[in-house]
């Protein structure tokens, strides 16, 4: 074990001293994620590139705010982006999401308007009725857009521009208050609307998970796919370093010391693994600190990173064990990283893929990792990751065993 650690530590030292490699491994994925976030609208209201996002709305409210919210989703500006249909039964609306006919179902609960706008002779209730958004848990980009629209509506409702002017218009037109009563009315209404506990909000329900999520942005949706794609680049380039060691004869020098080939393979693998974990972790931490992204339960995020890096390591080492030159591994690694990145949500939402491709995507750690990060971002915990972690564990172990076999056959036996 001590020698395995020595080999891994040496590799980490070499990486830290290679400034270009550090930029490639750590800074590039972060910058690319920011770039992708900007392109997909995380920092602006520009075109997202998506259209006809299927949304089912159940308006049980019948009040003005409920109608206004429906009209927002069906407005001219959004009609090409969001294809909303009405469904009176929310259970049926949920079923449409479950059978993938829609990406989300929105419930405007009964009494929503009246919990915000005072009615004649009725005082406002203590709590505002909460909207409910039920999502499929997979269509992260599409759901992100729906949520952005919903949150904008809620924000305007919460702000003085909407939450006060709409009720005031209503109150004036209905003759419920006189202009002299406005200051008194505002004093009583504003704390109710602006307070964090009682303000307008919505409950997010992700498929079979009842967990609630408070903060999602498109950047948060893009970052995992990007991080995982760069993780694949990282592990394959780690494989390249293995072959470079052979070319520079340091591998041979390792092999003629009283150190078994398994210790050397494990030591090299461990170094590459730690590098991969560090890369994803730094990306996660910096995006959380700089942009306030909510990745979810931190313990679960750490465990998921550890497992997904293990799965990726298996692929990286297997590739290295097959090829004999660094350029071969580099070319194959780039191809695999891009392919897995595409299959695992690095460029497009996985929901955009046909079913057969989604099945194939399961061979990549990216697909499993993306799914895990989505669950955690939606409020899931470690308990929700069981099957994902198991899949990544099996993937990594099987691939590393195969890699070890091919390594000993193809890489360790070197000519003099």
């Amino acid at each position: 074990m001590r020698k395995i650690w020595q080999i891994a530590r040496k590799d980490l030292k070499l990486i830290i001293r290679d400034q270009m490699a550090l930029v490639l491994y750590l800074l590039a994925p972060f910058l690319l994620t920011l770039g992708m976030a900007a392109i997909t609208g995380a920092f602006s209201s520009g075109d997202t590139g998506l259209s006809n996002i299927p949304l089912v709305i159940t308006n049980a409210d019948k009040g003005d705010l409920g109608i206004a919210l429906v009209e927002v989703f069906q407005s001219e500006g959004l009609d090409e982006l969001i294809n909303s249909i009405l469904q009176t039964d929310f259970e049926l609306a949920r079923q449409l999401v479950d059978n993938r006919s829609a990406v989300a179902a929105l419930l405007i609960p009964e009494g929503f308007s009246s919990s915000v706008i005072p009615q004649k002779g009725v005082s406002l209730p203590g709590n505002v009725s909460q909207l409910q958004l039920y999502t499929d848990g997979e269509s992260t980009y599409s759901v992100g857009i729906i949520r952005a629209v919903l949150e904008t509506f809620i924000y305007e409702l919460d702000s003085s521009a909407a939450s006060v002017s709409i009720p005031l218009d209503k109150l004036f037109s209905n003759g419920l208050i006189s202009p002299e009563e406005v200051p008194v009315f505002l004093d009583s209404l504003l704390p109710k609307l602006m307070g964090s506990e009682n303000g307008v909000g919505y409950q997010l329900i992700v498929n079979d998970s009842a967990a609630e999520r408070q903060d999602v942005s498109l950047l948060a949706l893009i970052a995992p796919g990007m991080a995982l794609m760069f993780l694949m680049f990282n592990v394959t380039s780690g494989g390249v370093s293995f072959l470079l060691e052979r070319r520079k004869f340091t591998l041979q020098r390792n092999l003629v010391s009283p150190t078994s080939s398994y210790q050397i393979i494990l030591g090299k693998s461990f170094g590459i693994y730690l590098r991969g974990v560090a890369q994803v972790l730094i990306l996660v931490l910096t995006s959380a600190l700089l942009f306030g992204l909510n990745w979810g339960n931190w313990l679960a995020v750490l465990v998921l990173i550890a497992f997904v890096a293990y799965g990726a390591l298996g692929w990286g080492m297997l590739l290295t064990s097959f090829f004999k030159t660094p350029s071969q591994v580099s070319n194959a690694g780039t191809t695999i990283a891009l392919l897995f990145g595409m299959l695992g949500g690095g460029f497009l939402p996985m929901t955009a893929l046909p079913e057969w491709l989604k099945t194939i995507a399961r061979i990549s750690p990216n697909a499993w990792g993306s799914e895990g990060f989505t669950i955690l971002a939606a409020g899931g915990t470690l308990a929700n990751l069981g099957s994902i972690l198991l899949a990544l564990l099996i993937m990594g172990t099987v691939l590393l065993i195969l890699a070890s076999f091919f390594f000993r056959r193809n890489v360790i036996q070197v000519g003099g």
Binding site: Q6, I7, G416
Partner: protein, 314 residues
């Protein structure tokens, strides 16, 4: 004296090519043994097999009584290797490299630290210990390359052409270091294609060509194989038709062999001193425009020439 190494019928095939062909020899404890041969003769492949890096196609070797096939982890405890290439990590310092290689060779703690500083002293690079290898000259890298093989005080040190491509001063230092290590009791297996190095260092020499060990013995034993023959080296005008001249000298007088080289001919003949005049006359008749003539006493180069018909540097 006991054998530290016994190689028995070592063979390494790459397809139809036998890189090492049925090679057998032994090295006595405390001996410097040189394997002399031109580039591509099979020296590095032989070292690779003996150091357990490469599995032989057939044959085996015992090092300190352990088989390279069956007990390779035991073998590795007793050997050190100085590869022909600079097998060091450029971005680590000399000190970090040595500590790393020491730990891989089972040294730790105080012992490791002590040995690292000892070998840095031996190679005279203590003052550069904290500099990265990539800032070193070729000769300094070679010295660190050697130091990394010495850390664990191996009983048998394999040195694969350790002086290739370095300046004369570093070369001198390395040759002196080899002798010093040997005087301290280390057995050394040294490969080279420089005859002078083999002559200066070796207790015994093996000559390898095209994968076959064609001669083995002390220098006296090997030169006796040439018998009373001498070599005459004739440098000619570059435009001379050397193959034609060679064919006319073949069999003339006491000449037993004629080798055509890039800038002249080398002849093997008996009693060069008395044969010289008629040979010059005959060469002139054959069209040679002689620029210089040199009589070479029997040495390892002559032996190689005698055995293979080719010069060592070919």
């Amino acid at each position: 004296m006991a054998s530290i190494l016994q190689a028995n019928n070592l063979t390494k095939n790459y397809g139809d090519l036998a890189a090492v062909d049925d090679v057998s020899f032994d090295i006595q404890d405390g001996e410097i043994f040189s394997l002399l041969g031109p580039n591509g003769a099979g020296k590095t492949t032989t070292i690779s097999m003996l150091s357990t890096l490469l599995a032989p196609s057939s044959g085996d070797a015992l090092i300190n009584g352990y088989s390279i096939l069956k007990d390779n982890m035991q073998v590795r405890k007793y050997i050190g290797i100085v590869p022909q290439e600079i097998a060091l990590y450029d971005d680590l310092t000399a000190l970090e490299n040595l500590f790393y290689w020491g730990r891989l060779n089972d040294l730790n703690g105080q012992e490791l630290s002590q040995r690292v500083h000892e070998v840095l002293g031996i190679i005279d690079l203590t003052d550069r210990a904290r500099d990265r290898i990539k800032t070193f000259s070729g000769g300094m890298k070679r010295r660190i390359n050697i130091a990394a093989g010495l850390l664990h005080k191996p009983k048998l040190l394999f040195m694969d052409e350790p002086t290739v491509g370095i300046d004369p001063q570093s070369r001198r230092m390395i040759l002196d270091m080899v002798k010093e290590l040997n005087q301290q009791g280390m057995s050394i297996f040294y490969t080279t294609h420089y005859m002078e190095e083999a002559q200066e260092l070796s207790d015994r020499v093996g000559i390898i060509d095209q994968g076959k060990l064609i001669a083995i013995g002390t220098q006296d034993e090997l030169t006796r194989q040439v018998g009373e023959n001498d070599s005459i080296r004739i440098e000619t005008d570059p435009t001379d038709d050397l193959p034609s001249i060679a064919s006319q000298l073949e069999g003339f007088g006491e000449i037993s062999k004629v080798m055509v080289e890039a800038d002249g001919l080398t002849l093997i003949t008996k009693d060069a001193e008395h044969s010289l005049a008629p040979i010059i006359t005959q060469a002139g008749r054959a069209g040679a425009r002689i620029k210089s003539i040199k009589i070479i006493e029997p040495n390892l180069e002559t032996v190689f020439l005698h055995l293979t018909g080719r010069a060592l540097r070919d």
